[in-house]
Subunit: 335 residues, 4 copies
Amino acid sequence: MNEQQLDLREYEVQIDLAVEARELAGSPDSQIPGVWSETEKANGITVTRMHIQSDEGARAIGKMKGHYVTLEVPQLRNGDSDLQDKVATTFAKEFEGFLKRVGIGRTASVFIVGLGNWNVTPDALGPLVVENIMVTRQFFELMPDQVSEGYRPVSAVAPGVLGTTGIESSDIVQGIVEKAKPELVIAIDALAARSLERVNTTIQIADTGIHPGSGIGNKRKGLTQEILGVPCIAIGVPTVVYASTIVNNTMDLVLQHMEKHTPNTDKLFGVFGTMEGNERLQLVKEVLDPLGHNLLVTPKEIDKFMEDTANVIASGLNAALHEAVDTDNVAAYTH
Amino acid sequence: MNEQQLDLREYEVQIDLAVEARELAGSPDSQIPGVWSETEKANGITVTRMHIQSDEGARAIGKMKGHYVTLEVPQLRNGDSDLQDKVATTFAKEFEGFLKRVGIGRTASVFIVGLGNWNVTPDALGPLVVENIMVTRQFFELMPDQVSEGYRPVSAVAPGVLGTTGIESSDIVQGIVEKAKPELVIAIDALAARSLERVNTTIQIADTGIHPGSGIGNKRKGLTQEILGVPCIAIGVPTVVYASTIVNNTMDLVLQHMEKHTPNTDKLFGVFGTMEGNERLQLVKEVLDPLGHNLLVTPKEIDKFMEDTANVIASGLNAALHEAVDTDNVAAYTH
Amino acid sequence: MNEQQLDLREYEVQIDLAVEARELAGSPDSQIPGVWSETEKANGITVTRMHIQSDEGARAIGKMKGHYVTLEVPQLRNGDSDLQDKVATTFAKEFEGFLKRVGIGRTASVFIVGLGNWNVTPDALGPLVVENIMVTRQFFELMPDQVSEGYRPVSAVAPGVLGTTGIESSDIVQGIVEKAKPELVIAIDALAARSLERVNTTIQIADTGIHPGSGIGNKRKGLTQEILGVPCIAIGVPTVVYASTIVNNTMDLVLQHMEKHTPNTDKLFGVFGTMEGNERLQLVKEVLDPLGHNLLVTPKEIDKFMEDTANVIASGLNAALHEAVDTDNVAAYTH
Amino acid sequence: MNEQQLDLREYEVQIDLAVEARELAGSPDSQIPGVWSETEKANGITVTRMHIQSDEGARAIGKMKGHYVTLEVPQLRNGDSDLQDKVATTFAKEFEGFLKRVGIGRTASVFIVGLGNWNVTPDALGPLVVENIMVTRQFFELMPDQVSEGYRPVSAVAPGVLGTTGIESSDIVQGIVEKAKPELVIAIDALAARSLERVNTTIQIADTGIHPGSGIGNKRKGLTQEILGVPCIAIGVPTVVYASTIVNNTMDLVLQHMEKHTPNTDKLFGVFGTMEGNERLQLVKEVLDPLGHNLLVTPKEIDKFMEDTANVIASGLNAALHEAVDTDNVAAYTH
């Protein structure tokens, strides 16, 4: 038995952010029935709140029914700590609002699950966030009368990945939930992006939980209210992108660029230029996959990007979950 | 609410190795009823196998009934990789024998629990061992027909500590055990030593599980067959020592040293010299504790010691648990 | 003053491996005047030894005069430790041969420089190698009569990068060379690849030293015999690749793929299909650069790839530099 | 040749803080000729400024002539981030004052040297501080006209230790100083304490540079103005303590404790009780050293203590060295 023989396909990464799905479904301005949304821009941060209310809406968008909030911050990778503080504060406010909208009370106990692999930098978002979470559940368990106002019980675990533990992270989380009995699970995970620009610049909150990809069949489990018995809010950040996605996006840009300058792009790009985006992506994949060249890649500076993003999310969660922690000063609570 | 207000006392560290307890109970050569033991020395490694068979024996020794194996390797801290390989091989053989003695079959599925805190070097033994364990359970779950001969299902998790997760590690382990359903739990933990020389030179295997100290009362739980529903073998290594222990041991040595050179130690040390070891330790504690000076300390070179010890244990476990992994070559399976 | 205002362009990454340059210059089989080369394949490792002997050859290839050895191991990213051992052994033998060819004696003292930034995973090759080098110079300095046969003085430093030290690494190395007075400098550095497949699968040895890119002008210095006063051998591994390179290579593959299946690719790709590779790359860059999308990217699994590659090089160097270290067992000398 | 054969004694650790030396020399209140000192207490921080002005004073105290500032913060190990901020601010003010007293100008370029070994937690103070230093020299070199007011050129390197580089750190620093030409060197180093309580609670600034211990003879070099050609300010923090020191200090406390309760300690401790502190320490060493039991030890929580202390010093230095960095907000400049 060697690793080769027993190689396992990992979770198919989730590649669809709700904002992307909506874009693919049609113009962002168009009114899709069963889908409510609003967008706000300030401080270089675009916040989109979306509610997919009906099956019809879900079908139209291609995403599950539920609440979604997305923060898009194109400059987040610039290492500007003022901007990072603003994003943490915005995230905290949005997350507080999100909890209200989905009916989670102010004192509900929360269990934060940091999915992913410590030893794989672009997959370490969950573990990095968990490291900076202010955990308080032990105080409520062991000395409940001494806990000050303005806190709620928060616990946090990074359960590891199947390849390093031998156990589905879904099983680990389920087992812990049955013992620790939280009223809400928050699961943090790294995603694959639909474009290189999204990597470590977008944060999505959703009350749909985590669903495994379809790749590995029915043996892999997700983290959902059905499985856990309590609601599960997923926080996702794209940190990797397929080589084929980069190629396809770039060809889109090249085509757009050429169209501006040339009347007849048919001649320029032939049939290739007239393909639909998806068709072209399919072609690129057909070529790359059998060669093993369709790797997931990540920016060279990923170590710093992960640290910054994890700090934003941990600071934001600490402020959102404890009233006694001020959103103006969230960053002080993490290292 | 700040950390001060809600300060928690950690698990009282386990300070008694069986070999130490036996020594305290009387000369190692004396025959204690209800206690069987044998000792073997080779390659600079002293192996002591002990079986505390009766309540009488347990009372006499001051340790729980059960099987114990101790490896004492005074030179283990010297960074000699040949010796480390020999210790790993000896550990593997002893652990195999131990499994047989306590009735664990060759194919029994095993869940390895690495107790302790990643971020506290002398407490990181468990997490470090888990990092180097060869996990195989996922293959048995997902592709059972493709697993080669000579392997068994092994899984491994480092559950963190109460202060960083907010959940008792005992609860986390229990929750996972109920989902993963192993037939044996192996728990790895760092201990406090009775002397500075034992630090990172002694490894103990015991089938008694992990018992919390008495410090925090009945709210803290252990890892035992009663709690987990399956046998629990504990592997412990002393990695820290109380300042008061160092003082007391040193004063013993000073007294012994003086006795050799002087007829009348009464004059030299007065009443202090005639105190029992325990009485003197009590006096030292009485002085140090209220001043906050009775710290747990660890050797300056602890980072390297922990790495070496964790590699020995992980290599040894990999070889002991899988027949297909050769004890002559165990070190190759860890980084 | 903020980081933005004072932003510095880093060293332009070296993108040309000699084997790539030769390929670009013409068919590998063609005889280029002033360029000697031979290629050997065994164990999944392709070794190319090249000597660019004249200015004419240098111009034809577009690389400096000098000796080059390249190891290409397409499967090196598979995590196969047997293959890694073979590559380390091959590297050691090739490096020994290289030293002879360039006239470095068996006892010449060597200073190994690990260029790059610890905190940026794909840039940490140099520091990672240095961590696993067997340094011996201190023994020759402090107790020369006690050093066994078969060793030479080896020292090793990772000087950091301009952005974290404030000092050119070239200046740091020069300053140390003047004090430590080695007879040879070996500089290890991460490179940008001309294709995603080369990332962490190719190792190049060259006696041309390290030359800074042209980007930042004459203020940046390299590591060459002229500057250091002693020969400088560079060991380089591609660990990152530009997004534009991925796009261009993929489009090549797509075009090749289509040509096999379609008689008339003109219609399929229009003008784009008839462009030269370089022309197309230029077009892709023109589109991506102003959008800030032409990032350097690296595979998701870069942490493991870096560790493996650094171990191969460190093991290989330890065996090549000390006769007493056996090439059959090189891997044992690193962690 | 193996490590055993060629074992090297490390730098003898510096164990004398000026405040300790003064205490040993006599009552802190006594007027020692040629020694000026003043002490200030606020916020749980005791600041002692001392100037040993004459050879007579130096002999009396047993320390070199020069300026010394010591911050003693018994609560610094409690993990209280408010206190840490206060200590950073106090350190910054004291360091600014120190620079003035020793005649270093506001724009003098500074080279910070982080001595010690990354891989040995209690020895990693220097490297940890360097990681959090705001380096600016590169901006002055490459774009001098664009540097804002209120900054000076600062560079920083952690040169490693002899055992891992093969080169004396003094030689490395000297070589870099000759290239980078700073006007001041600041060397940060971990020390051995005279008592367990001092570990990570005391910071000393001195303009005497770093002097190697006497252990290894005249082959080891220090970092002094004589060697470097520019002034060298040393910042030292005790992070380890000898087992013998712990024993001796504790016996002092035990004796003091007993004296309070018993009229006749002679009977209690005999000759041992009447020994001088130094005599007793000698006895303890005589017993422990040949057994190899006189280890350097460090508190179990050393990882956190080192991180906190390094942040205090880095924040303090960043504020002290750049007028544009506000001492009220120093902590924001480090991670």
